[in-house]
């Protein structure tokens, strides 16, 4: 069965620090990869997605992620975080040929202190 694991459940950073959130997936086929963000009390919003092509994808609000096929990873990065980035971040995957539903990781709760 397909699964997604996010290594960091809670991350605390100071403003201007760099961010990297890990995401690994388990699935034998080709996948689409997503990062969603959930601000406190709000719904899931798409940060970025990878379908094919350049493995380095850029999203909104200065976020980027790199797909490394050999490592089954899709880590999220941001060079300099802001207090407004405080949120929960979910990595998700669906399959190009199998399942269309999104399978989510357990989420990483990021707290950025001013």
């Amino acid at each position: 069965a397909q699964s997604v694991s996010q290594h960091n459940h809670h991350v605390i950073l100071s403003e201007a620090a760099s961010l990297e959130l890990g995401c690994n997936y388990s699935y034998g086929g080709t996948v689409n990869l997503f990062w969603y963000v959930q601000y406190p009390g709000q719904h899931l919003q798409l940060l970025l997605k990878y379908f094919s092509g350049d493995p380095l994808v850029k999203g909104i609000k200065g976020f980027e992620a790199e797909f490394i096929k050999s490592k089954f990873s899709f880590n999220l990065r941001k060079p300099s975080v802001q207090w407004s980035d405080t949120a929960e971040y979910f990595c998700a995957v669906n399959s190009k040929t199998g399942f269309q539903k999104l399978v989510f990781g357990t989420g990483t709760r990021l707290l950025v202190s001013p």
Binding site: L44, L46, K49
Partner: protein, 114 residues
Amino acid sequence: AAGVIQSPRHLIKEKRETATLKCYPIPRHDTVYWYQQGPGQDPQFLISFYEKMQSDKGSIPDRFSAQQFSDYHSELNMSSLELGDSALYFCASSSGSSFTDTQYFGPGTRLTVL
């Protein structure tokens, strides 16, 4: 831009009661997904519809049923509610059943079962 609309936003029910959650997809989106997010958990896929037909089914209890109507809105019917059904229920929509279609999430319905 128009987004996914869910109603009601908040719902409080007693055990063994029934609840109906509604989802209105983004205009011209024909695929709807339902996810359940328990407290502190990641979203779990329940069920999806494409062109008014069920397209996939996840961990949806037999007490729950759902359908998609001719105008593409969807309703999730929940009967014999249990305390464990308390969660945030998200609806997402996409255009078409292609695996590269991005799912856009609604604000969710927070269901509390007392």
